[in-house]
């Protein structure tokens, strides 16, 4: 009895005929199999945007700078920026700047987007008598032009402000600058 109850009784099965040349309606899901096309542009929530920029700062003449920015979009309009800027010219007083801060995007999901940001972080100042670290604040605006679903061009302008120890006396720095670069948003 248990043998049977436990389901080991052998059932008889037979193959059903293999249907051929059967007429049938249209595949209701045919549209689902068309190759997907990337149409989405601009910022969206959850996106991570990695941007490399080159440009100039104007505090001590025109000094070339390189900048790397990672932007995490928490909402389609609100990002968290992490950037680091490296002075490529020896005259620039702030040689290295790490910053974190929010960005506000005005035109998410669009080919052309404008955003504003404010960042704060430590900056390293190269001085004659050695290097000094001091907090620096930077605010600015960016213009993004999406060139595909993933790639975009960025034009950025900013004004950085810091007060640092210039060998015993407080030095105030206003450092305007601009960069142009390319970004990839995933």
């Amino acid at each position: 009895m248990a043998f049977f109850l436990c389901g080991v009784a052998k059932a008889q099965t037979s193959s059903r005929p293999v249907p051929k040349n059967v007429e049938h309606p249209e595949d209701p899901f045919a549209g689902d199999y068309r190759p997907p096309v990337v149409k989405e542009l601009g910022t969206s929530a959850g996106q991570v945007r990695v941007i490399g920029l080159l440009g100039a700062r104007l505090a001590a003449g025109t000094q070339p700078v390189g900048q790397g920015t990672v932007e995490f979009m928490t909402l389609p309009i609100l990002g968290l920026r992490l950037s680091s800027t490296l002075a490529l010219g020896s005259e620039d007083p702030s040689s290295l700047f790490f910053a974190i801060g929010p960005s506000l995007h005005f035109f998410p999901y669009r080919r052309l987007d404008v955003s504003m940001f404010a960042e704060v972080g430590p900056a390293r100042f190269a001085l004659d008598h050695g290097a000094a670290w001091s907090p620096m604040l930077s605010t600015g605006a960016s213009l993004d032009l999406a060139i595909s679903g993933y790639w975009f061009l960025r034009l950025e302008g900013h004004l950085a402000w810091a007060v640092y120890d210039g060998g015993g006396e407080a030095v105030t720095l206003f450092d305007p600058g601009g960069t142009l670069g390319i970004g990839f948003g995933i």
């Binding site: 193959s15 059903r16 249907p19 059967v22 007429e23 049938h24 679903g149």
Partner: protein
Amino acid sequence: MSKTRVLVIGAGPAGLSAATRLLEKAPGQVEVTLMHMGHHLGGKASSYEDDEDYTVEHGWHMMLGFYRKMRGLMGRAGIDLDKTLVSMKGNAHPFEPWSGKIHTLNWKRSTLSFMGHWLAYSGLPLGDRLNFGRFMAQTFIEADRGGDLTRHDDLCFRTWAIERGLKPHITRYSLFRNFREAYFNVPESISAYHMLKSMKLMSTPKRSEMFVVRGGFSEHVWGPIGAYFEKLGGTIVPFSLATDWVYEGRRITGVRIGRPDSSGHDEGMSAWKQKHLPIKDGSDSVHTNFDSVISTIPVAVLAQMNREDARMWASPYFSRLSELRSGVTLSMTVHTKQPWMKYPGPVFGLPAPMGIAVNMTPYWNEYKGQNIRSAIHFMGQEGGFEDWSDEQIIAFTLDNFSGVGALGSIRDAGIRYLEFHRNRSAFEQLMLCEPGVQKFRPGVRTPFLNLYVAGDWVRNEVDLICMEGAISSGAQAADTLLEDMAA
């Protein structure tokens, strides 16, 4: 002291789990009868070997690495897990219509090695791969961080994903579509909660490893568990179809049962044709020999019991149950004379209605030496194809393969045997995990003080529509009943 008589209705994973748990935890205190309408144990998860040793499947079943409760039950029943379960070695093969190819994903080793593998994965263009990879990493973290994931239940997973920056076009890849397909939820949407819970449970390669059994689940898994239950002192009563509850006040006093009329069942064909099974004339009676009942009857069947009782179905508890919808699954087994589709893991993303195919030749090794070079099992759901005949669905599926990757026509491989199941009967249907469904799923207690419910559709610790969920729910029902007995 007299024993408490417990009637467990249904011998699927939930019923077997509840019944054995009662006897394991309260030996000498309970007398357990397991009553079910069929003869094979395992319910929707049954598959068995026929007179020629071919495995008959109403729908392919695999176990995942996180099925701890199921493994535990199997182990206690004396099943040698190492001999019975075979790993698919982390392989899965998405077919992507955009490339026309079948690609390979392997998640066998570490999460880190999978990330490397993902970067080189050919199934998605690079940008999409990075976006999808970023989204999945974020999702696994969000799912794992804990908190009440049910707060995501009202959204469908697609919307949830897009809200988190997955590019909408990516949701059209097979890889994404499979989230719904794996739960037979096409063309419906799947709840974000259900997907997040799945990801939480499958968060490592070990927890998501797929295992199949060598041959039928009924012989290798459910049968031995049934025998274990009998060894513990339980009684199994087959061919008893419960049709109605008999109650007085808030207690169930009887269950109306009859012998199912199997004349509508056609082997090798569409399984049962009727949505609700008839009972043989003159076979009905009222079973009263119990103190408490654990019902593991699927919700689509339960929702038809006591249908004339308008007052019962208007009550808040039962009217909520009516909101739960179930879907019809399809399955087909094809044996070929020539080898065909030699992929070691499931191939998915194939055109609907049967979008998943698995080559079971290496696993169902009872077939060795039987002149079968490939045993392919197909699965899917009827949604969108309700008006098509069986022949149309079968022919369409077979023909579709000519356009898939480099497989070539399955017809040319010489079809030796073909079996098709259209699981239309209510007891075969699977609950749809649609957005917003959680608030309608009940817990194990019911308004009847001596009636408990269990099954994959009842809320439980695992909560997914799968064997592990059903086993978890069965165990929870048994524990609750024992708690109430002790109180």
